[in-house]
Amino acid sequence: MCRIGAIKSKVAFHPSQALRLMLPQQEGHDNSGFAMVMQDLDGVFGQYKDKPLLSLACTQKGAQMVENYMEAHNFARVYEWVPKLNRKPGLDIKAMPHYIFRCYDYPEQVQGASQAAKEELLLDTRLALRALLEKENQGYAFSLWPDVLTLKEIGDPRDIAVYFRLWDDSGELMAKNVVVQCRQNTNYEIVRYAAHPFFIQGYTLCANGENTFYTKNKEYQKSLHRGYIGFESDSQNFLYTLHYVLHQLKWPIKYYKHVITPLPFEEIEKRPDKAELKLIRQSLGHLEINGPNTIIGMLPDNSLITCCDSKKLRPVVIGGDGTTIAISSEVCGLNVVVPDRDPATDVYPDEREVVVITSDLEVQRWKQ
């Protein structure tokens, strides 16, 4: 079982905070990987908030391939930040040769286009880059989106932090939101794309658990959208469903929970909105999840969402001090990141509850 967490703050913070959130929960993960998505960036990327930011881990050849592709498709490079790596011997990390975080200007032909058209272009471009790199096994394109940075690596999270100098708090890499995971490998070959959080078109999600309906979800999702690919992890299903419900169907956020863990029929029958709920259950039955899970998601408007499976078999706790709110698998993580909070106000959502933290740190919670 992985450990997952998220931090949202009114002031930008360093990724070391995310590590501090996760490391106390070490009994729950096995130091086999670390991944995070940062959103609403500050530091070196603070002035490029509207420029698509590409997060890339690749070989020399892969970097060249990406550069050629982006040039050929009229993406003009605006800014590039390459982490100064600490190649200290003895670190437990399976590093890639190059890590590139690069901001682009939109191609001229879409400069005046609608937001939707730009979003589609960014998705298509990321998918093309991924296909390009995958074909020759030259690297990984994690995200291409304004104001979003992704870092995923295999190894001990502490060593990964040393390698990328994340402990230095140099002011270069900062954000107001981060979603983070320390992974536990479950005897499968480690694939970088399988590391949470997953990202598509502004939606980020990580989950810990076992989705028993993985195959059912996957087969259906593959038919829904061209961006629903990969499926290296059974938790990608949750992201694609989140994206489908909010971005494609444009339904209110409260219906996400109704899709993934629908109410039992006898409860639906007692509700005033039973007609709608039954239709949702009919039409989106293939997106129901099963098994123990907890989900933490980040939406394009910087709000965070968390909920559990229908039996609440994976724990999650939310706590904050007015400036910072964190979501964590275990409360020991919260105690390190927000030590001055009042623990009595911590929220432990139950199996029917959804908690949303809005961009101004308001905590909303409701029953499904």
Partner: protein
């Protein structure tokens, strides 16, 4: 003749347990026979070869003697269950049951207790099917075993035309989804349907029994299962009953009994669970299905509205060209244009855009189809032929009408055999179809 009888007898080699018996240890106390609750063993007398020596010095001689023994019954009804009671009560350890790996009892049971006459050792079942089923990993990433503490179980499945999520007529009002349009009726049932075997293909009694079972499971045990009529039509009494709601009416390439179904519509008290239009004979794609004349009894004729003749269900419905558009026009005339595509029941958009071999509609379209068919018949009134003019008010009236029918020409006969394409060739045959 005695030999023939014996080779067909059941032997204890066919039974799951064999009695191992040592006559030299047995004192014939009878405890084992008394203890056997299954009457699997009995006392008997056997003529056996024995070596005896009665003199003062050993003078063994071989002789034959009739000696009392305990033996196993050669009977499937009294097979040994291996309980071991005989072994427990025997003071001398003279008897015990031994498992017979080559038991053929299940085959005997399947044959109603008759001995196996063919197949020889092929009949030996070394392992059972249930032993061979492997429940693999149900999630790729993890190994959770199915567990009611961890998983939710819900076996209901939607039956009817399920709309794609994007097609749901929802409007958003104050952060809530509101239903703002019509949706096809969908019922949540167990994903179990008594599959389409027609009256005729199944014997009438068997078909009736399955109908009764369907209604019984629903009414008595609240188990939402459904049954498909098969393509042989449906008795009028059933169509007029409350239990029609558990039945799926099928039409297939033979169009059997469909004018009776259409005519019964005004008398239907409830909607059927669905209608199933079978566009191809999936299991019999070459020549289609054939019900030999010998099986077309009077009541089958009445239900199907046919004479006593070989009944062919062609491999395809000829009115439907293999064009998706044509298919749409023919079978979905009354559904709104946006919903008019032929769909498989699951509505899964990832299915290849192929011509589905079966298409399930939920109940409502049948009403509108009735309306359109009555419009059609008003528009083109035509003299029905004699067998077609029967009013299926009662089964008996159908019966009398059908018995009087005689095939007059090859052309009329061809209409039966070939479905509506051949029928439409003749203007005097207003076969009720769903649409024009």
């Amino acid at each position: 003749m005695e030999t023939v009888t014996k080779i067909q007898d059941v032997t204890f080699n066919d039974l799951p347990w064999k009695i191992e018996y040592s006559p030299e240890r047995c004192t014939m106390c009878g405890s084992c026979v008394a203890a056997c609750t299954f009457k699997a063993i009995e006392p008997g007398v056997e003529r056996r070869s024995v070596t005896i020596s009665t003199a003062h010095v050993p003078e063994p001689t071989q002789t034959h003697r009739a000696i009392p023994v305990i033996r196993q019954k050669n009977s499937a009804a009294n097979f040994c269950r291996g309980c071991g009671m005989c072994e427990k009560v025997c003071p001398n350890r003279a008897i015990r049951p031994v498992r017979n790996d080559d038991s053929r009892l299940n085959i005997l049971a399947r044959g109603g207790g008759n001995p196996i006459k063919r197949g020889g050792r092929n009949n030996l079942i070394k392992d059972r099917t249930l032993d061979k089923i492997v429940v693999g990993r149900i999630s790729q990433m993890t190994d959770p075993s199915l567990d009611s503490e961890r998983h939710t179980f819900d076996i209901l499945a939607p039956f009817g035309r399920v709309l794609l999520p994007g097609e749901l007529p929802f409007s958003i009002d104050d952060g809530e989804l509101k239903l703002s349009g019509w949706t096809p009726p969908v019922r949540w049932i167990y994903p179990v349907i008594f599959s389409d075997m027609s009256v005729g293909a199944l014997s009438t009694r068997a078909w009736e029994a399955v109908c009764l079972a369907t209604a019984y499971l629903n009414e008595r045990y609240d188990m939402p299962v459904r049954m498909c009529s098969g393509e042989g039509g449906m008795p009028v009494q059933l169509m007029k009953s409350d239990y029609l709601k558990y039945m799926i009416i099928q039409i297939a390439s033979g169009h059997f009994g469909w004018n009776r179904i259409i005519k019964a519509m005004p008398h239907m008290k409830v909607d059927p669970a669905g209608i199933l239009i079978k566009i191809g004979q999936g299991a019999k794609p070459g020549d289609g299905g054939l019900l030999p004349a010998a099986k077309v009894a009077e009541h089958i004729q009445a239900i199907r509205g046919v004479p006593k003749a070989d009944l062919l269900s062609p491999p395809t419905i000829r009115a439907f060209t293999p064009s998706r558009n044509r298919c749409r026009k023919c079978i979905c005339p009354s559904t709104p244009p946006s919903n008019s595509a032929c769909r498989s029941p699951s509505n899964a958009p990832h299915l290849p855009p192929r011509y589905p071999s079966t298409t399930i509609f939920s109940a409502t379209p049948i009403r509108s189809a009735a309306a359109s068919s009555s419009t059609a018949s008003r528009a083109a009134p035509a003299q029905p032929t004699k067998y077609r003019s029967t009013t299926p008010d009662t089964l008996s009236s159908q019966r009398s009408a059908n018995v009087t029918w005689q095939p007059s020409s090859k052309a009329v006969r061809a209409r039966y055999l070939c479905g509506p394409a051949a029928a439409s060739a003749s203007p005097a045959t207003p076969r009720p179809t769903l649409s024009r």
